[in-house]
Subunit: 90 residues, 4 copies
C-alpha cells in the first residue's frame, strides 16, 4: 500500500504530485542541457581538428571503429560480400 498510489490523478486535484513532477522535469531538462553542452564541446573539437587539416569524416570513422567490436565488423563485411557476389557486383 502507498500514500500516493496514483500521482497522475493527483495532478488534476491537489497539485502535490504536480509539484513533484515539475521537479523531475526540471532535473531532466538540466541534465539535457549539460548533455547538449558536451555535444557542443565535441563539435568544437571536430572543428579544431578540421582546422588542423584532418578529415573529420575519417576521424569520426576511426572513433566509431575503436568502439566497435572488430569481429562484428568482419562479419558485416563478409555478409556484404556474399550479397554482392549473389548480385554479380564484383
Amino acid at each position: 500500500m502507498n500514500a500516493r498510489p496514483d500521482p497522475n490523478a493527483d495532478i488534476a486535484s491537489t497539485g502535490v504530485a504536480g509539484e513533484e513532477l515539475k521537479q523531475f522535469i526540471e532535473r531532466i531538462e538540466r541534465l539535457e542541457e549539460e548533455k547538449a553542452g558536451i555535444a557542443d564541446d565535441i563539435k568544437e573539437v571536430f572543428g579544431e581538428l578540421k582546422g588542423r587539416g584532418f578529415d573529420t569524416k575519417i576521424v569520426r570513422k576511426i572513433v566509431a571503429l575503436r568502439k566497435q567490436d572488430a569481429n562484428e565488423r568482419q562479419e558485416q563485411e563478409a555478409i556484404l560480400e556474399l550479397y554482392m557476389q549473389a548480385l554479380g557486383m564484383q
Copy 2:
C-alpha cells in the same frame, strides 16, 4: 601558407601528425564518455520517477513538448526578423 599544409602526408612518414590526431581522438572519447554518463543520469531520473508512480511515456512527451515550444518560439522570432529585414524595417 601553412607550416603543415598536408598532415596526411606526415602521418605515413614522421608520425608527428599521427600523435596530434591521437590527442584529438582521446579528447573526443573522453567527452563522449561524459556525455554517456549524463545520459545514464537521465535514465536514472526516469527510473526514479517511474518508481514514484509517474508514467515515463507521458513525462517524455511533456519534456519533448516543452523543448518544441521553445524551438517554435525561436522559429517564430527568426521568421519575424527575416520579414523585417526583407521589408527594410531593419
Copy 3:
C-alpha cells in the same frame, strides 16, 4: 515455419533469393528516382518563385513553420490522449 527460412544461405547456392533481392532493389531504385524527380520539381518551383522576386530563404522558413505548426498540433493531441488514458478518461 517458412519455405525459405534463410535467404542468405540461398544466395550463395541457388541464386533464387538473389533474384528476389534484385527485384526489391530495382523497386527501391525506381521509387528513389521518382522521389528525386519530385525533389527537382520542388527546386524548380523555388527557382520560379525566386524569379518572381520572392526571397527563397523566407519562403522555406514559412513552409517549415507551417509544417511545424501541423506537427505541434498533432503533438498536443497526442499528449492530450495520453493524459486521458492515464487518468482513465477513456
Copy 4:
C-alpha cells in the same frame, strides 16, 4: 522596369503578391506531400523485404554502393587504412 519590383513590399499593402506567394507555397506543399508518400512507399518495400528475411541495413548499403562511384570508394578506403596504420590500429 517591372510592374511588381518588390513583391515583399506588396504583401503588407495590397495582398496581391501575398496571393501569388500562397499559390507557390501550396504547390510546394503538394509536392512535398507526394515526396513523403514515395518515401513511405520505400519504407514499405524495406519492411516487406525484411519480412522476407533480408537484412535491411545491408540492402541499403548495396543500393548506396550502386550509386556511388567505385573509384571514390576505393580512395576512401585507402586513406582510412593510411590513418589506421598511423595510429597503429591493425
